[in-house]
Symmetry: C2
Subunit: 241 residues, 2 copies
Amino acid sequence: MMSKPFLYTILSPNLLHNYDINNSVVVIIDVFRATSTIVTALYNGAAKVIPVDAVDKCITIGMQTPNSITAGERDGKVIEGLQFGNSPAEYPRNFIEGKTLVLTTTNGTKLLHMALNNGASEIVTGSFPNLNAVCNFLQQQNKNVFLGCSAWKNRVNLEDTLFAGAVINQVKEYFTIHCDSSLMAEQMYKLHKNDLKAFARTTTHWHRLAKFGLEKDLEYCVTENVANILPIYKNECLIVE
Amino acid sequence: MMSKPFLYTILSPNLLHNYDINNSVVVIIDVFRATSTIVTALYNGAAKVIPVDAVDKCITIGMQTPNSITAGERDGKVIEGLQFGNSPAEYPRNFIEGKTLVLTTTNGTKLLHMALNNGASEIVTGSFPNLNAVCNFLQQQNKNVFLGCSAWKNRVNLEDTLFAGAVINQVKEYFTIHCDSSLMAEQMYKLHKNDLKAFARTTTHWHRLAKFGLEKDLEYCVTENVANILPIYKNECLIVE
């Protein structure tokens, strides 16, 4: 019998270097709101999403890319010099279809580039709107998996941990899991899977963003399988294959 | 009304730099087994414990200190060149009373020195055997508190997180807590407080140490208030005031 591949949960980008992610699948998780926005834009027909880790790069690539829009947030607000923010609601089909979204965010984009620089062989993005698509992909790869939580300025957050738990809850029989973070994430998800929206309101990030009137956005971001496709990173872009 | 001081939980030494611990109380947590051993040795009459972060330093200080013993483990085993290991059971009163324990451990001692170098004003050690002593101290200080989990080679572990949750469960009314790690830790503790011994068996560290026949040790390390004193760091030593 073949041994099962390993699965680990990494609760903050600061912890990534403790793991050997070489030749593994890394799932980038940034529930509030980067990976929820990315999957929604692609689900609604965006040609691709270009994730960048700095604002000036975002502006430059935006100018060089036909039919593109630039977007990003720092601390929950649209960045000066960019056109749009980091809300899934900003990207309905009648606006985003066929366009390229050049996106920079506080936490998620940075983690993606860290994973890339550390040798991940496949990078995909995960969030509640594409939970099942992520799980189906992981089951088919037969590779080690790292669930990478983007966290908030490197501080562990609940919403990313809960999503890691949701994935583990579905795929655990396919993996060897010797990882306390994974055990904790799954237990937290099982404890709250029937009240995700209510529980999300207790997170520190909710309080931070709710100040800006984003409650509907946040509720969308904890709704499972409403944009069920898989963004995968190829040639510096997130696309749907 | 005075605002309450803050309380944060830091799940790994790798995350410490994301917080301003200056002039705060830091609780060093290393449930399996450094802080359980430290409190047990002091409870049983040890004059003091000198925590050191390197083996050669442990040997040198041991030679310079009258009536001392050197102890330490790496990866759960006694280190060559040292006399004893990192098991609470090695330090009964008829052996340790009046002696100085010079101790180096994989994770806990390193975190203590990090806290010291980052400006903590009080450093105490916490573990289930001295849960109430820690909580009583924190309630009286009126200072910001950081619950510092030693983790396992910087990977988040369950047993330290559970102890942080046990503390939060007792003291939360005295603090302002905007910290998802704290919320998660308390929920995990509440979920398992009535089956701590059974649940501890599911942690990765238990499996690591149980190989060495340490089950009784580990059960002791999750028993609340059986060595209920407060080790506090003064002049490079942990003592009981």
